[in-house]
């Protein structure tokens, strides 16, 4: 079972830096694990912590939230707000049993194609080791 386990990871990437960083990885032909499903959002500040909670509920094994480096936000301060929100949400999720290793908050700029690939590879490996997420919706089990 664990041998064939491929983690499903949802990535919320900000339009201005991290999504462009992912694009950079692509155009530079840098390989990264195909486990990540990318959702493009205007800003890391747009990623309501409930999006992450919902992703886990719907069966994601891991979640990545990535935005511009602090100080580089296109809108000035979106990522500063995100940083505070996720500092709390991360520990709350861990507290209710979602292993802290399943969620990663990171900053990836538009020029950091390599770094994007590295972040995705690290998270994928980490989640692979943690195994499938057990707390997802029951219908998954029934199906």
């Amino acid at each position: 079972m664990t041998e064939s386990f491929e983690p499903r990871i949802v990535g919320f990437l900000c339009n201005w830096c991290s999504y462009a960083g992912a694009d950079m990885a692509g155009t530079s032909r840098i390989a990264y694990p195909p486990n990540i499903r990318i959702v493009r959002v205007p800003c890391s500040g747009r990623v309501d912590p409930l999006f992450v909670l919902k992703a886990f509920q719907e069966g994601a094994d891991g979640v990545l939230v990535a935005g511009c480096h602090p100080g580089d936000c296109h809108y000035g301060d979106g990522n500063y707000h995100a940083r505070r929100r996720y500092a709390l949400m991360h520990s709350l999720l861990d507290y209710v049993g979602v292993d802290a290793g399943r969620l990663r908050i990171d900053w990836v700029s538009a020029a950091e194609g390599n770094r994007f690939a590295q972040v995705v590879a690290e998270l994928t490996e980490q989640v692979r080791e943690l195994g499938p997420w057990a707390g997802r919706q029951e219908r998954e089990v029934a199906a």
């Binding site: 409930l50 909670l53 919902k54 602090p70 709390l88 520990s91 709350l92 861990d94 209710v96 908050i105």
Partner: protein, 286 residues
């Protein structure tokens, strides 16, 4: 002690209603089955109904939400509310958030001896560091001379000591009992959205299905929405018919908020709430 407070509340209520400045006094009365319940007193004759003892655990500040909805207490004049220290902190949160204005509420502050649970005090009263409300218009009762213990967060730490799998098992067991009655939300002074996400249908964030994951989602969502706002009055715990330790969730966030942002909900109105502000150079665990 309780008798003094009860007498003080009645005297205040009579006087306020007599002066005609107050349209309603929100307090407690003896209900059926030997339990106290919230009471709304509109005239002097009714003030003898008001009681107070150490089982008056309802946070009456929730009835101030009514004012916004044009409910019973929405008359143009002020209302008086009987409030313990934790209730007043909750009121402070509502004032910060512009839900209630200070002028329209007369606070009958209770110098609280703590809420009883059997022969001892409830857990949150045992670690409560305030016996006198942060503000009030009239204070009833004598502040008890007790040694106020520091909060050691031992209940939260116990869970933190488990592995994630054990915590998941613990919370699954607890949340599985939830019957989605939303009593916790109704009892909570911090939950005042006209349309709760749990009932919103478009988009349907929280399914109305009765599965474990939906119940867990609701509770984690509610806890997160109370981040930096929960005053630990434990009205949710008291209201829960299934005895789910909801405050254990809220206290985890309160602990983090205090550790990371040195903030305690319902305190100084000059300090912005932690999630409404940021510091550029702060180092946070992500």
């Amino acid at each position: 002690m309780s008798r003094e407070i009860q007498e003080g509340i009645r005297v205040q209520a009579r006087e306020l209603l007599g002066l005609g400045e107050i349209s309603c006094v929100i307090g407690y009365e003896q209900g059926p089955k030997g339990r106290v319940r919230p009471a709304f007193v509109y005239d002097q004759a009714g003030t003898d109904r008001l009681v107070w003892d150490q089982t008056c655990h309802h946070n009456l500040v929730v009835y101030l939400h009514d004012r916004r909805k044009g409910g019973k207490t929405s008359a143009a004049s002020r209302v008086a509310v009987v409030a313990r220290p934790c209730d007043v902190r909750a009121l402070n949160v509502l004032i910060h958030e512009g839900q209630v204005s200070r002028e329209e509420v007369f606070v009958i502050g209770v110098a609280c001896p703590g809420m009883a649970e059997g022969a001892t005090l409830q857990a949150h009263c045992q670690r409560c560091r305030e016996r006198v409300p942060v503000f009030y218009d009239a204070l009833v009762g004598e502040p008890a001379r007790v040694k106020l213990p520091a909060d050691d967060w031992s209940d939260v730490a116990e869970l933190e000591g488990m592995t994630p799998a054990e915590r998941l098992a613990f919370w699954s067991r607890e949340f599985d009992r939830c019957i989605r009655c939303y009593a916790c939300r109704q009892a909570c002074p911090g939950c005042y959205c006209f349309e709760c996400l749990a009932e919103q249908v478009d988009p349907a964030w929280v399914s109305i299905a009765h599965g474990l994951s939906q119940k867990a989602f609701f509770h984690v969502m509610r806890a997160y929405h109370l981040a930096g706002r929960c005053v630990e009055c434990q009205a949710c715990d008291q209201a829960c018919p299934m005895h789910i330790p909801l405050s254990l969730l809220n206290r985890k966030i309160a602990k983090e908020v205090e550790a990371l942002f040195n903030y305690k909900a319902g305190g100084d109105p000059e300090i912005p709430p932690p999630l409404a502000t940021f510091l550029k150079d702060e180092e946070l665990p992500l």
